[in-house]
């Protein structure tokens, strides 16, 4: 039995880096410090043994070499290939993906477009007053969770960074910190909050507007109730925000995917901007996948845009709503697709999944997933954080090296993508 400390959990955007793994006979047998969902990932089964290709409707085992050739052929044949996923792999592989997309003339998009894409659009309009999570841990005496439920989606967020995390200026976090939860239903997180604001679905924008008007001294015009929230509560919350010494607003898909989408987030950002005239306040999107933020970082430095980049005409073009995977698939605007480290068949609307089924589809993923069932080719790879390593970016932008716990015979995403890329260069004579 071997014990490895300070490992990184490759599951959610918290990217906890204090995990202890116990290894026996080349397998992870238990974890320590991990939450249940992270633990499940470390102990995950269902790994595909070798590349498989669908020939006349039946899966056939093939070699990696054949798999690479098939992938190259499928993608080079297309007029508008889509390379999607990326948030479940390390940055080095994402870089290869961008290079590949340059010579393919395709669209490259990451899962941002189905979670915090609206947050990015809002940030592109008004910026982002943020900070690292340790800054919150050490200083924040007021936490707001808006449209997110960390107890279920980011189980250690509260114990590592907020409610239960003692910090430099808060030696008893649980007592000295106030927590406000805003949501359309009473979630587990709402139950432990000091203040719960229940909003009617679709009411976020109006509530944020009202809070901002109150901050501006216009409370006289606010009606007794806004989207299910009483004026009294709005006044009280505005006051809590104004008088804290460091406030931190975290928000999730409850805000970004509610009606109005990015304009909700924009309103939240500007609310935080306004609060900075009174005190210190920051805002952080609760990024879901462990390296979705890394996908944004990589694509930003390599293409100029954090997601949804269309290279069909050689130069990069960006227009979420048009160049985002969901929109392209729903409109049937692509004719081949490669999915890396993501399972769109499990989450995407039906029209999108149908289009994926109808076009040549390559999947690069360690596991058999829903998407496997509609694919034409799947290439299994090592799992970053278990038998592959690479860089990931935490939800607050902190870059972390995700280490591997063991070696295996599987190629990493970087290795397999590099092979595909090199083969493409060869075929195109570049």
């Amino acid at each position: 039995m071997q014990e490895i400390k300070d490992m990184i959990c490759p599951f959610c955007g918290c990217l906890c880096d204090d995990i202890t793994l116990e290894i026996e006979a080349g397998k992870i047998v238990s974890t320590d410090n991990c939450c249940t969902i992270g633990n499940a990932k470390f102990l995950g089964k269902n790994r595909l043994k070798n590349p498989i290709k669908k020939i006349d409707g039946t899966w056939t085992d093939i070699t990696y070499e054949e798999a690479v050739d098939t992938a190259v052929e499928m993608l080079l044949d297309a007029d508008r290939p889509l390379l999607f996923g990326w948030s479940g792999t390390h940055g080095e592989a994402q870089c290869v993906g961008v290079h590949m997309n340059e010579i393919l003339g395709g669209v490259i998009d990451n899962t941002t477009s189905v979670c915090h894409g609206p947050s990015i659009l809002a940030i592109q309009e008004v910026g982002h007053p943020g900070c690292t999570l340790g800054q919150v841990k050490n200083r924040a005496d007021l936490i707001i969770y808006w449209g997110c439920n960390p107890i279920e989606a980011h189980p250690r967020h509260m114990s590592r960074y907020t409610t239960y995390a003692d910090g430099y200026f808060l030696d008893n976090a649980f007592r000295n910190r106030k927590v406000i939860v805003v949501d359309v239903r009473e979630t587990e997180t709402a139950k432990v909050a000091d203040e719960f604001i229940r909003i009617k679905p679709g009411g976020d924008y109006a509530v944020l507007s009202s809070l901002r008007a109150i901050l501006r001294g216009k409370s006289d015009m606010i009606p007794d109730s806004v989207a299910g929230v009483s004026k009294t509560q709005l006044m009280q919350v505005a006051d809590m925000c104004k008088t804290c010494s460091f406030g931190a607003l975290f928000f999730g898909v409850g805000l970004t995917m509610a009606k109005g989408k990015y304009k909700n987030v924009r309103n939240a950002i500007e609310f935080v901007d306004d609060l900075n005239r009174h005190t210190k306040f920051t805002l952080t999107p609760m990024r879901g996948h462990w390296n979705v933020y890394g996908a944004n970082e990589v694509m930003a430095w390599m293409t100029g845009y954090p997601y949804a980049v269309d290279f069909c005409r050689g130069v990069a073009f960006y227009n979420p709503g048009e160049t985002t995977a969901i929109d392209i698939l729903a409109r049937k605007e692509c004719d081949a697709c490669m999915i890396v480290a993501s399972d769109p068949a499990a989450h995407f609307p039906r029209a999108c999944v149908e289009q994926l089924r109808d076009i040549p589809l390559v999947v690069i993923d360690p596991f058999e997933t829903m998407t496997t069932t509609i694919a034409d080719l799947q290439i299994p790879v090592a799992v970053t954080g278990i038998d592959a390593e690479g860089t990931a970016y935490r939800m607050d932008g902190i870059p972390i090296k995700v280490k591997k716990a063991m070696d295996s015979d599987y190629p990493s995403d970087t290795e397999i993508l590099t092979r595909i890329y090199n083969k493409m260069l060869e075929v195109k004579g570049l």
Binding site: G127, H128, T132, P399
Partner: protein, 566 residues
Amino acid sequence: MKTLLIKNAFVIDPIQHISGETMDIAVRNGKIVDDVKNPDEVIDAQGMLTLPGGIDSHTHICGTKVNFGRYMSPEDMRAGRTSRKGDMHATAGYSVPTTYGNSYRYSRMGYTTLLEGAMAPMEARHTHEEFRYTPMQDCLANTLFDGNWFALQAIQDGDTKRLAGILAWYLSAAKGFGVKLTNPGGTEAWGFGKDVSCINDPIPNFDITPLEIIVKMIEANEMLNLPHSVHLHCNNLGKPGNYMCTLDTYDAIPDINDKRQSLYSTHVQFHSYGGSSWNDFCSKAEDIARSVNDKPHIVIDTGQVMFGKTTTMTADGPMEFNLYRLYHNKWSNHDIEMETGSGIIPVVYRKKNLVNAIMWAIGLELALLVDDPWRCILATDNPNGAPFVKYPEVMALLMSKEYRDKEFETLHKSTGRRVALPAIERELTWDEIAVMTRSAQARALGLIDYGKGYLSEGAEADIAIYPIDVDSTDPARDYERIINGFSTTEYTIKRGEVVCRRGTCTLEGNHSTYWVKPHVSPAYDMSKDAAFIDGFNRYYSIRRANYPVGEEYLGRNVCMETEASI
């Protein structure tokens, strides 16, 4: 073993005291040698100005903050888009271009070495990841310490040796190059939304002042025998009347290194403001230049502003918040726990805006009023004052009074009453421009010992060959030719290979990262210091074991080892 012979080059190499001689340059295996027989490649540089490769000693090109500038600015990406061609990858952006965009454009201007001006050590890995995609230049990173809790604690305890030990640990862990202070104390105060106004303000929660941080950091820096001095972004940036703060800072700087400066003061234009408000805002460049002229142990860069759109970005979080309140443009802020802050806001500098016009003049005044070009470096604090692609225009302005006057005509009418520029006759010479764009940088950064900034035997073969015939060009009149000539080299040579030819990059580049590793005695080795490790794991949000950047992030690199005196 590749060999190259550059024939008939018109060389200006101030470090070697060569001031316009026609000569041959031989290169073998990436280094300049005495002679090569049967060279693999011959370049005829007849009638072409040949300089050591350009060095930018303060620019923002890689890392979390720069990338956030890209992330938040799709409108900036509408300009400068190119597709993949040959060995060149796709690029996009104007003031915050993609890494390839930065790298190719710098290479086209003959730049071969770049210093990223501000890297938070906690996010160092990010900077190094981007360096990998900046293939045409050697890269170095200034490492931020202005609000580092362990450092501030050591200063408060009066333990400068421990401070030096802390700097040493972080520099090696972050694979950083120099010690950078941005608004020392101010970024820590910003953790609770406050700021400090100058060097004698107390810093909230720490019983010290910015001045103590600056002086102690300089002492600690020299204990480590680092190639570069402390690199300071003074307090109170961008505020009317801040020149007094700058002067007071300079007065307090000790002179403790006999090889180079003891302080590098960056983007001084932003710190040379008179007046008590924006209404009576004026230039105090003369006062600043006088102070610099008196203090041979201080080197500055100008932080020139040029007109047009750009993006401001700095670790100075509170300053960016002030800009946001002024312009009401989109504002990003990113505090880094226990270390520093940062902020970003796009701006447009306009000729008809009096304040902007004065800022433009101040940068030029500094360059013209500091007597010694070795102590006044040309930079725009890219992209804060302007994107670096404006450098050729800045050079032309400094070389031609006529061009300056012509530009001045187009500015806000009241500019003349607030600045000294129109009365300054000085026109910089070719040699002075060469100093201010490479030689002075090589000296200030301590890179001469590493073969940078000159063209004689043993030097790195980083060479810029410009299509400028010095003999037939009168810079005072032919400023258009200066601009064009410095914008695109005939050849840019990096480590002995042509990497850029008339603007087209031809190679994947030959990039290295330079970083320092000071050796300290076990007593000051923080990796074995229980209090340090305990505080680290308690207050940071990542484990100390996961903090250092491994060498696998660097690719080819030069580790600059130093023997510390502690």
